[in-house]
C-alpha cells in the first residue's frame, strides 16, 4: 500500500525542522510496504526575476556535479549555487531558466530534471525511506511545507521515475495513494493538447491533468472539481504548490487519510502513526477528510493569521 504525507508549518520558528519532521513522517509510512519513496520540500524562495531552482537526478552514480556546474557556468556565463547529494543535486543558475533547461538537455543526457520552480526541491528514489532520507540528507531541509510518498507499486514499473512525488509545471507536485482506472484515456486527451508524458504511471496522468487545469486558469478548487468528474478510480491525492497544500479523497473514500492540525502545523498522512511523533500532536484536532471534500491550506493565510 502506498503512503502519503504532507506537512505545512504555520509557525515560522518550526521551519528549520521541516526535514526532521518530514523524515519521521515518511519513515512512519514504511510499514505499509514500500519499494520507493520521495519527498518534495518547499524551501527558501528564489527571488531574482527569471531565476529558477532545478532539482536534478543523474542515472549515472559517478556523476561529478562540480564539473557539470563548472561547465555550465562557463558556457552560460552565470553564477550557479550547487547542493549535491550523491546522484541528486539542486542547482540555482542565475540565468534564464529556459536556456539552462536547454543546456542540460543538450549536454547531460544522463541528467533528468526532477523539478523546476522558485522553491520546490525534490528527492526520490528506489529503496526504503530511511535509506533515502539518509542518502539525501532529508532531515537537513528547511522550509514552509512538504509533500512525501512511500510507494508500493500496483501498476507500472519500480524505478526512480515512477516514484512519487510527480512534478509538472513549476512548483507543482502530486502524490497519490490508490489506483486510477482511466489513466490511458486521460493521457490520450492530454496528449492531443500537446502535453508530454515522462512515464506510463497513472499518477502522472492525474498530475498532468490538474496542472493543465491550473495553467488554463482554474484555481485549485475548480481544478479539483474537474478532477472529481474526470478521474475514475480510488484515490487520495495530496497536491503541493508554492503556496498551498491540497487534499482530496474519492467519493467512496476508499483510501485512508488522517489530518492533525494545531496552531503550529497541519499534518496529513495515510495513517496516524506517521503523525504520532510530531510535537504536541496529542492536543491537535485529528480528523479524517470527507469523501469528495476539498481541503486547501494556504501558506500565506496561515502565516498571516
Amino acid at each position: 500500500m502506498c503512503g502519503i504525507v504532507g506537512l505545512l508549518l504555520k509557525d515560522p520558528d518550526k521551519q528549520d525542522f521541516l526535514g526532521e519532521y518530514g523524515t519521521e513522517m515518511l519513515v512512519g509510512m514504511a510499514t505499509r510496504g514500500c519499494d520507493s519513496a520521495g519527498l518534495a520540500a518547499y524551501t527558501n524562495e528564489v527571488s531574482e526575476e527569471g531565476v529558477r531552482k532545478f532539482s536534478l537526478y543523474s542515472s549515472s552514480d559517478s556523476i561529478d556535479w562540480n564539473a557539470l556546474t563548472k561547465a555550465m557556468r562557463e558556457d552560460l556565463d552565470c553564477e550557479i549555487d550547487l547542493k549535491a547529494n550523491y546522484n541528486h543535486a539542486v542547482i540555482v543558475p542565475y540565468g534564464p531558466a529556459d536556456i539552462v533547461w536547454r543546456w542540460l538537455f543538450e549536454n547531460c543526457p544522463e541528467v533528468h530534471i526532477l523539478s523546476i520552480g522558485r522553491s520546490i526541491e525534490v528527492y526520490k528514489d528506489v529503496g526504503h525511506p530511511a535509506e533515502i532520507a539518509e542518502r539525501y540528507n532529508l532531515r537537513g531541509l528547511s522550509g514552509s511545507h512538504l509533500v512525501g510518498h512511500t510507494r508500493m507499486a500496483t501498476e507500472s514499473a519500480v524505478t526512480w521515475a515512477h516514484a512519487h512525488p510527480f512534478t509538472v509545471g513549476e512548483d507543482f507536485c502530486l502524490v497519490h495513494n490508490g489506483s486510477l482506472s482511466n489513466p490511458h484515456s486521460l493521457r490520450r486527451m492530454l496528449e492531443r493538447k500537446g502535453i508530454h508524458f515522462d512515464t506510463d504511471n497513472d499518477t502522472e496522468a492525474a498530475a498532468r491533468f490538474l496542472e493543465w487545469r491550473l495553467r488554463e486558469g482554474d484555481d485549485m478548487e475548480t481544478a479539483l472539481k474537474a478532477a472529481f468528474r474526470e478521474l475514475d478510480g480510488f484515490y487520495t491525492l495530496l497536491i503541493g504548490t508554492n503556496n498551498e497544500l491540497a487534499l482530496v479523497r474519492d467519493a467512496f473514500a476508499c483510501k485512508p487519510a488522517v489530518v492533525a492540525e494545531n496552531e503550529g502545523y497541519v499534518a496529513i498522512a495515510s495513517e496516524f502513526r506517521s503523525l504520532a511523533h510530531l510535537p504536541d500532536v496529542q492536543n491537535a484536532d485529528v480528523f479524517e477528510p470527507m469523501p469528495e471534500e476539498i481541503y486547501v491550506w494556504n501558506k500565506q493565510s496561515v502565516v498571516a493569521s
Binding site: 467512496f252 473514500a253 485512508p256 488522517v258 496516524f272 502513526r273 496529542q282 485529528v286 469523501p291
Partner: protein, 235 residues
C-alpha cells in the same frame, strides 16, 4: 516479557516492547499471571493492539490506536483514550470496546456480539456486515454505514451519511439526527415498545443521556431478500 506488574495490573510501553509481544502476553500469560487490568502507553497509531483477547480483563490504551484495535474481542473491556484507525473491534464476539475519540472506517465490522461505543464520530461503513454486535456512536457516522448488516443494533446519536443501511438484513438502526440518504431497501419504520426498551438499554450501557423518543428506527424493507422475476430483470 511484561514490563511492570503490580497487584494484577500490567503496564506496557509500546515504545519499549512491540505489539506482537504484548498480544502474545495477553493471549498466553495474562490470566495465568493473575492480570486483571492492563495499561498500554504510547500506542502511537500502531496496528493490531489488543486483538483476539479472550479473558475478562480491563485494558486501557492511553493514546491513539491504529487499525484493528480490539479486533475479535471476547470478554475483555477495552478503552481507547484517543482516536482509532480502520476497523476497530472488527469481528467482536463479546465484551466492550470503547473509543473516547473518533473512529475511522469500518468500525465494528462483521461483529457477532458485544458492544462497541464510539464517543465522537465514526467514519464511513460503520457496522458494515454486523452479525449480532451492538454499536453506539455518540456523534455521526459516514456513508454506507450498516451496509448488509445482518443482526444487532447501530445507534447513531448524531447524523448519518449517504446510503445508510443499504441492503440491510435483520439489523436495526436508530438515528437521532439527520440522515443524508437511505440505501437500497432501507426504510424508516415506526418505533415500537421493544425499540424504546432496547434503545434505552443501549444508551445507558454506552453512557449517553439521550431520550429514546428522539430517535428514528431504520430497518430493512425486505424487498431484496429474493429475486423477483416480475421486475423484468431490470437489475
Amino acid at each position: 516479557m511484561e514490563q511492570t506488574v503490580r497487584g494484577g495490573k500490567l503496564m506496557w510501553d509500546l515504545r519499549e516492547r512491540s505489539v506482537r509481544e504484548l498480544n502474545y502476553y495477553l493471549h498466553h500469560n495474562a490470566v495465568k499471571n493473575g492480570i486483571t487490568e492492563v495499561q498500554i502507553f504510547n500506542p502511537d497509531g500502531a496496528h493490531h493492539i489488543a486483538v483476539g483477547l479472550d479473558a475478562p480483563i480491563k485494558v486501557d490504551i492511553l493514546g491513539n490506536a491504529g487499525y484493528f484495535v480490539g479486533g475479535m474481542n471476547k470478554q475483555a473491556h477495552i478503552t481507547v483514550h484517543g482516536n482509532v484507525g480502520w476497523s476497530v473491534a472488527e469481528n467482536i464476539m463479546s465484551g466492550v470496546v470503547r473509543v473516547k475519540g473518533y473512529a475511522s472506517e469500518c468500525a465494528g465490522a462483521s461483529g457477532h456480539g458485544g458492544l462497541l461505543v464510539i464517543e465522537k464520530d465514526a467514519s464511513s461503513r460503520c457496522g458494515i456486515s454486523m452479525k449480532g454486535n451492538d454499536i453506539v456512536v455518540g456523534g455521526s457516522v459516514g456513508h454506507f454505514s450498516a451496509f448488509m448488516a445482518q443482526a444487532g443494533h447501530l445507534v447513531v446519536c448524531g447524523n448519518a451519511g449517504d446510503g445508510l443501511g443499504d441492503s440491510l438484513y435483520e439489523a436495526v438502526i436508530y438515528v437521532r439526527g439527520e440522515i443524508r440518504s437511505l440505501g437500497a431497501d432501507a426504510q424508516e419504520e415506526p418505533m415500537a415498545e421493544d425499540d424504546y426498551k432496547t434503545l434505552a438499554a443501549l444508551l445507558e450501557k454506552a453512557g449517553f443521556k439521550h431520550h429514546p423518543e428522539d430517535f428514528k428506527r431504520i430497518a430493512s424493507a425486505k424487498k431484496l431478500y429474493h429475486w423477483n422475476a416480475e421486475h423484468y430483470q431490470e437489475y
